[in-house]
Structure formats: C-alpha cells, structure tokens
C-alpha cells in the first residue's frame, strides 16, 4: 500500500528532478553572484556594492525601461491583432484552414532568420526601398535599419509572437459553446454586448496566458535587438552579456544584478499586465 502511494512521486523524479535542480542552481548562481559569492576574480564575501553600483547607474535604468517598453508594446499589439482574427476563424469556412496555416507559418521560422529577413527587406538595397523609389514615392532610399525608436524590434516581435497569441486564443475561443452565444442572443444581446459580456470573460485566461508568454520572451530578447535593434540603447539581455564580458574583475557580479532584475521584470511585469487585463475585462463586462 505504502509503495503504491510512493509510486507516482518516484515516477516524477527523472523528469522533474533535473528541472528543479538545474533551475535552482542557475537562479541560485545568479543571486549569489549578485551579492558577492562565487566570485571568479577575488574572495567570496557578502556585499551589496554591486547592487548599489548598478542601481545607481542611469544607463541601467534606461535599459530596464527600454526592455519593459518593448515587452509591453509587443505583447499588447500581438494579442490585439490575434484576437479579432481568432474570433473571425472561430467557425470554419472555405479557406479558413489555409488562413490559419498561413498565420502559424512564422512559428517555424527561427528568430535569427526572421531578423535577417526583415533587415534584408528594409535595408538600403532592400525590396521595400527599391519598390518605393520605383513607385516614385521617394527620390532616394530611406535608412530604416536599426531605427532608434526600435520600431523594427517591435515589428519583429509581433511578427513572431502574433501566431503564438493566435494559437493560445483560438483554443479558448473555439471552446465557447454555440448554445451560450445563442442564449445570449435570445436575451437580446447585440454583437458588441456578446463580445463584452460573454466572449471576453470566457477567454480571459487565454488572453492572460498569451500576454505573459510574449511579455517574458520580449523582455529577455537578444536576437532581434542585436540584429535589428537600435545602436544607441541595449536590451536587458544584451546589456547583461556586455557587462559580463567587458568588466573583467566584477563583470559576473554586475551581470548577476542585471539578471536578477530581468527575472523580476519578467515576473512582475507580466503579472501586472495580466492583472490589468483582468480589470479591464471586468469593467467592460459590467
């Protein structure tokens, strides 16, 4: 009997133990290096100097808010684009399979490849510039690569993540029974009211899941930023990598502070966004 109760936990070991061990070691490494332990350059000792040093840098906060801004914009735009499309494709019609296959296609394209395709497309010799010049809209090609407002990065994030949002939302939109919608219609609810009172509340969880996933991915982005991002500011991941490799003596400790802040941004930022979404949906439902 006792053995039977233990069985499921024993079965969990091979899959769950590596994950828990690896994650706690890696996060533990980052946290302890940020407070002066596992020092590669000198003696281990508890110290908050790396935290004080990093958090008093203007540059750090610029980078922090930059990544936060990219993450918020990317997740909101992706979800806002994906939602109406998912509603439109709720019930199949001729051609709907083709469209959802087309929407999902970017999921199969590697982030670095996407960044390259994009930069190639908007570059000075790229298709877009050539087309604009040929159409007579501009005299000379426009410089769009690595724009300083990071519009390129947001476009790439949306391009890559809108399909993800679409997949997550589609599942929950399709799960809404027709009977619920019919009942709402019989009670005299117009299409806008049905959206506000029935569809949105029922798909809230999926909306939040999509927001959280995209926010975390965009906040920790490296590939898009390095290839297509502005040259006058770095993302958190890029900044962390640079601090680690440039500042020989205490690079690891300072990078660890950035890492902990990035984890905090991912966690609290995405949860806040999900919470706000819940508030808005509740408000609208009233």
């Amino acid at each position: 009997m006792k053995r039977q109760r233990l069985t499921p936990y024993l079965l969990l070991l091979p899959g769950l133990f590596p994950i828990v061990a690896f994650m706690s070691l890696v996060v533990g490494m980052a946290v302890s290096q940020s407070i002066g332990y596992f020092n590669f350059a000198g003696d281990d000792r508890f110290s908050l100097e790396f935290w004080e040093g990093m958090l008093s840098q203007n540059q750090f906060w610029r980078v922090f808010w930059y990544s936060a801004r990219i993450a918020i914009l990317s997740s909101l735009i992706s979800v806002m684009l994906a939602y109406p499309v998912a509603l439109w494709l709720r019930r199949p019609f001729p051609g709907s399979d083709l469209i959802s296959a087309m929407i999902k296609a970017p999921l199969l394209v590697h982030g670095l490849v996407a960044a390259f395709l994009f930069v190639n497309f908007i570059s000075f010799q790229g298709f877009l510039n050539v087309a604009l010049v040929k159409l007579g809209l501009i005299d000379r090609p426009i410089r769009m690569q690595n724009d300083s407002y990071a519009i390129g990065v947001v476009i790439l994030q949306v391009w890559k993540n809108m399909p993800l949002a679409f997949l997550v939302i589609t599942g929950s939109v399709r799960a809404i029974g027709d009977d619920i919608l019919d009942a709402a219609r019989d009670l005299g609810a117009g299409s806008l009211a049905r959206l506000r009172r029935v569809i949105l509340p029922l798909t809230l969880r999926a909306l939040q899941a999509a927001l959280i996933l995209i926010f975390i991915g965009a906040a920790g982005d490296w590939s898009f930023q390095v290839v297509a991002g502005p040259t006058n500011i770095q993302s958190m991941a890029q900044f962390m990598h640079r601090v680690q490799s440039d500042n020989a003596a205490h690079g690891w400790n300072e990078a660890a502070v950035v890492a902990v802040m990035l984890m905090a941004l991912s966690l609290f930022g995405s949860l806040t966004l999900a919470g706000l979404m819940q508030l808005i949906v509740r408000r609208m439902g009233r």
Partner: protein, 280 residues
C-alpha cells in the same frame, strides 16, 4: 433580405481572405524570395549600388559555403546534439508523463506547474549563469554542457506532449488485455503503443527541432569553437556579415526544420497549442 446579407457576408469574407493573402505575401513570401535571390548572387560579381538586381546569378556560393565555411561541422554538431538531446529528453520525460497522464496524487498540480519553470526563465539568464556553473564545476566539454542545458530546457515540452498521449490510452483496453491474461509486454504493445506512437514521434521531432534552433545556451556555452547552425548564422549576421552567405545559411536553418515540423503536426492532429511554440 437574407440573400442580400448572405452575399455581402460572402464578399466581405472573400475580401478579408484576399487581405490575409496579401499580408502573408508581404510578410513571408517576399522576404524569403529576397533571401533566395541574395544567396544566388555570384561570388565574383558584386551586387553593388546602384544596381537594382544582382548582375550575375549562380549556385557557386552554395558550393563555396559548403567547402570553405564551418557549416558542415556546425551541422554535424547540431544534428548529433539534437539526436542525443531528443532521446535523452524522451527517456527522462516518459515516467513523469506517465504519472501526470494516468495517476492522481496529492501535489500533482504543483508538480505540473514546476515542470514549466524553464519556459519562463529568460533564455540568456539561464545560458550565462549555467556557463558560470560549468566554470565553477570545471566541466570543459561543451558538448556535454549544451546537452545538459538543452535536455533540461526541452523537458517541459516532452512532458506535456507525452502526458496528453498517456491520458488518451483507454483503461478498458488495458483491463481487457489483462483479463485475457496478457503479459505486461503484450499489454504495453496492444493497449499503450498504438496510442502513444504518434505522440512519441511528434515529441521526438519537436524536441529535435527546438534543440537545433536553440541559440542562447549553444552560443554562450559553445563559444568560440563549438558551433551549431544558429551560432554560425549569428556570426554571419554580426562579425562576419556577408549578406549572401547569411541568406544561404538562413535557408539551410529553416527549410529542413519546416519539413520536419510539418510531419510532426501531421502526427499530432490534436496538437496542443502551447507545445507548438518555436523558441527564437
């Protein structure tokens, strides 16, 4: 009245489909055509300002990349690594997935949440501090390091996919086989295997692809001399930027994976959305 609204609905729909096709064309087809065009630029005749189209096209660049770049080595590294990662991941995931798919026990929900943790840790945080860990442990084998990193990072996908497969095995079939006195092996073959097989294959392929595509750990742990296909693409996009070569390597990274993924999706007709996510 109804016919009228039906036909406007029809035209609306056609218009929207056309719009979707146009967006798809601009966002995906055109950029890929550009990449193909760039990869065909003849190595000895530059495509320079003010030429609008490349002056000479040839396949010579593909030959040259294959013979002079580290691409064959990178592909060998990527593919052997991915094979090891996918087998190891599946072996580790199976017992756990069985417990999630076919058993009820206290703490199951918490355990399921815990398996998803690697998905929410930013990739570069885990890559950089995993490499710190490797330095601390004195582990110099990059292959082993990346193998561990990929296996742990991809376990959540395998566990989720296989849990679904295990939960679809029908208890009445298992009971019937047992009642007929079948041995454990026979029960597994007749009741489990047919249901598990597509899920297993799909999980194998998906983990394989995600391992090939993984960039952060491969780059941080593997640098400078253990290259995989994404890290070589990164070097062609950064320090060694030569646009036509980057175009060719991009195509090499994307095309085989798309084909594999299409097979995986066939296998997983009832695909769970969250596990189909590509990591960039």
């Amino acid at each position: 009245m109804t016919t009228l609204s039906r036909s406007t609905l029809f035209w609306q729909r056609q218009l929207l489909i056309l719009l979707a096709l146009a967006v798809f064309f601009v966002a995906l087809v055109l950029p890929f055509c550009m990449a193909v065009l760039w990869s065909l630029v003849d190595p000895s005749t530059p495509w320079a300002y003010p030429a609008v189209l490349p002056p000479v096209l040839s396949l010579r660049r593909w030959v040259e990349i294959w013979t002079t770049s580290a691409l064959p080595q990178a592909m060998y590294n990527s593919y052997t690594l991915a094979a090891c990662v996918s087998i190891l991941t599946l072996l580790l995931a199976m017992p756990t997935a069985y417990a999630f798919g076919r058993m009820e026990f206290p703490g199951k929900a918490v355990a399921q949440m815990l398996t998803l943790v690697p998905l929410i840790l930013p990739g570069f945080v885990s890559a950089i501090f995993f490499s710190a860990l490797l330095i601390e442990l004195g582990l110099y084998s990059r292959f082993l390091g990346i193998l561990i990193g990929h296996t742990v990072g991809l376990l959540p996908y395998a566990i989720r996919l296989l849990s679904v497969s295990f939960s679809m095995v029908r208890q009445d079939l298992i009971d019937a086989a047992r009642d007929l006195g079948a041995s454990r092996m026979v029960v597994f073959r007749t009741a489990y295997l047919p249901v598990l097989k597509p899920g297993l294959l799909a999980a194998l392929i998906i983990v394989f692809i995600l391992s090939i595509e993984e960039f952060a750990i491969s780059y941080i742990v593997g640098a400078p001399d253990f290259t995989t296909v994404p890290t070589i693409l990164y070097s062609y996009l950064g320090y060694n930027f030569i646009r036509p070569n980057a175009a060719a390597v991009s195509l090499i990274l994307v095309v085989p994976n798309v084909l594999l993924m299409l097979i995986a999706e066939r296998l997983l007709k009832s695909a769970d959305p969250a596990v189909m996510t590509g990591k960039g």
